[in-house]
């Protein structure tokens, strides 16, 4: 009797250079901050080729946005960068407001700036925590989460959620801040600079930290620009670019802050930039609390949640039916959705988050593209890591601060 043939497993045979081998890091690797897979080609411990693979968290947010109104798309933006969901919400609202030519009231702009900076702090704290944990500093992880918890509780008091806020509205914000929130935030601002000093005591001059970060993942100024890096990664390479300063939105033109710039462009410079950014965030928060003006929180021309009742084609049909008489003129005063396309960028903790919206005059985006900083930073991993060690790849993934929800969308 013939023996049943065993299923053969094809073993990849290295051709040419026998020393090289391939390694697939992720998507379950804890240091990849989610579901990033990196295909590595190694020569010993040196990375010869590094090929990041994304898409494991793809949910089709851009496509979903095509058959949801702008108000409904706001919910989807929570799921982009889930560590700083408030920044995404604000960024989307700023984009749609610019499309609809709405200006939110001053108080709403200040509140948005507050929540934006709070989410920047929350994001940077989580970045520092996980980056330090990857490199081996466990204490910083626990200390950072201690402070992040205070911020999340403040968010919960403000909008009833700790992760998916959907707090800003197109043309304003949903709820007014109350005394409990402002007092809690003031207490947080008072203690937080000491906490930053604590983190710096732990890792700033620590020789293990220095050995793991100084000179690792170095990008020159020109290379950083050509890779499309934004945010702290770009500023650490010596480029003075911050959307908050150069194209101010919300209340950023009314507060005074500085943009920390580095020179070296390595992991340590990125770390220092983000630490200084946290200090500047505290400064912005303090100014916003002091300057918070009275007034309405939603603009009068802001669309309601039911955006579907104001479709332009319907109005055009009415206008054509009645000619161009008085009735057509009275219809013109109603808020309408302009057609055209717009790109609006905002500075989120990770970098520059842009929304490119093509509108055909309906309350839905005909096409919405999200320029997510994480996606571009992941693509820069190749340039950062090739020629380095495997352990330095972990440092690089941590120091460019990627969130896979934003990258894969």
């Amino acid at each position: 009797m013939k023996e049943p043939s065993k299923q053969t497993v094809e073993v990849p045979v290295a051709t040419g250079d026998e020393d090289r081998y391939r390694l697939r890091m992720g998507p379950q690797h804890p240091a990849t901050h989610g579901v990033l897979r990196v295909d590595l080609e190694l020569d010993g411990e040196t990375i010869v080729a590094c090929d990041p693979q994304v898409g494991y968290l793809h949910r089709g947010i851009e496509k979903l946005a095509e058959n949801r109104t702008y108000a409904q798309t706001l919910i989807l933006t929570d799921r982009l960068d889930y560590i700083a969901a408030m920044s995404n919400n604000c960024g989307f609202c700023v984009a749609v407001e610019k499309l609809l030519a709405i200006t939110p009231p001053l108080r709403a702009r200040y509140i948005r700036t507050i929540v934006n900076e709070m989410s920047r702090l929350a994001s940077h704290l989580l970045w520092l925590a996980t980056h330090a944990l990857d490199i081996g500093a466990m204490t910083v992880f626990l200390y950072c989460f201690r402070e992040r918890e205070i911020l999340l509780e403040l968010f919960e008091e403000l909008c009833g959620a700790r992760l998916t806020f959907s707090y800003p509205r197109i043309g304003g914000v949903r709820q007014d801040v109350n005394a409990y929130f402002i007092d809690g935030l003031q207490r947080f601002i008072d203690i937080f600079p000491e906490k930053i000093l604590e983190y710096e005591t732990l890792i700033d001059t620590n020789r293990i930290w220095l050995k793991r970060t100084v000179g690792i993942g170095k990008v020159s100024r020109e290379k950083a620009l050509s890779l499309g890096l934004t945010g702290a990664c770009l500023r650490a390479s010596g480029v003075d670019y911050d959307v908050r300063k150069h194209q101010p939105y919300d209340a950023y033109d009314l507060v005074d802050f500085e943009v920390p710039i580095g020179q070296e462009g390595d992991s340590y410079a990125r770390y220092r930039c983000r630490m200084e950014e946290m200090r500047q965030s505290v400064r912005i928060l303090q100014q916003c609390i002091d300057q918070l003006p009275p007034g309405p929180i939603v603009g009068e021309d802001a669309p309601d949640l039911h955006m579907s009742q104001r479709i332009i084609p319907f109005r055009e049909a009415r206008v054509s039916a009645y000619g161009t008489g008085l009735i057509a003129l009275s219809h013109k005063t109603k808020p309408t959705y302009p057609a055209g396309d717009i790109y609006v960028a905002t500075e989120v903790p990770k970098g520059e988050l842009g929304f490119y919206i093509i509108s055909d005059g309906s309350p839905r985006a005909y096409r919405m593209h999200i320029r997510s900083p994480s996606f571009i930073h992941i693509s820069a991993l190749t340039a950062l890591s090739e020629g380095g060690l495997v352990a330095d790849l972990i440092t690089n993934i941590g120091s460019v601060d990627v969130v896979l929800g934003e990258s894969d969308r």
Partner: protein, 212 residues
């Protein structure tokens, strides 16, 4: 603003590992502080009013059934399209709309709270109940009796009276009362109505300066 890249260290600091000693000293001091970890199943977290948790349909104390009038606003606004309502028009009641089924798929819901925000009669609510689960899909897809039960259970747990209950998603804090439908003009404290707004220190000072 240029960042300070690397702090300068002298020979003695290098020799005696001063930064390690400082770090160790810091962690040693923190060792004796109060732990902030919440031991969850034994301690319950302080969930704020306005947290968006399990769905419920408010049971009206007069009619003992839902307040829902079947306006379909929640169905229209739901981003995940998890609400389904069946409406009947009964000629014997002068063509009034009655809802014969109200269905929420909790597994599809994204807990944005839009439905509670647009509801003109405050019929639907996302309660502060966050710990609920089931072993099958069917029991997490709520129909109307289940949703009303959720509300009864929630009220009993909270020990609150419906007359005093106001959910922040029903009536967001600080919105003007004028454009709201009648059902949303609930009795709320003054700071919800936008009267006693919290304003910044500089504004308060400028107002005081004008009064003098």
């Amino acid at each position: 603003m240029q960042i300070q890249y690397k702090k300068k260290r002298n020979l003695l600091q290098n020799l005696f590992l001063s930064e390690l000693v400082q770090g160790m000293w810091l962690t040693l001091r923190r060792l004796f502080t109060k732990p902030i970890t919440l031991q969850y199943p034994h301690e319950q977290p302080n969930v704020r009013r306005g947290f968006r948790g399990q769905h419920a349909l408010v049971r009206d104390p007069e009619t003992h059934t839902t307040r829902c009038v079947g306006c379909m606003k929640c169905v229209m606004v739901c981003p995940s399209r998890c609400i389904r309502i069946r409406i009947q028009k009964r000629p014997e009641h002068g063509n009034r709309r009655f809802i014969s089924a109200y269905h929420i798929d909790a597994l599809r819901c994204v807990y944005c709270g839009y439905c509670a925000e647009v509801c003109p009669v405050n019929a639907i609510i996302l309660t502060e109940v966050f710990a609920y689960s089931a072993f099958d899909r069917k029991s997490l897809s709520y129909d109307m009796p289940q949703l009303l039960d959720n509300w009864d259970r929630y009220l009993a747990e909270q020990g609150e009276d419906l007359a005093q209950y106001v959910n922040p998603t029903w009536r967001p804090r600080g919105l003007p009362e004028g454009p709201m439908p009648a059902g949303k003009r609930l009795p709320v404290p003054d700071d919800w109505k936008g009267k006693g707004q919290v304003v910044g220190r500089l504004w308060r000072q400028s107002v005081q300066g004008q009064n003098r």
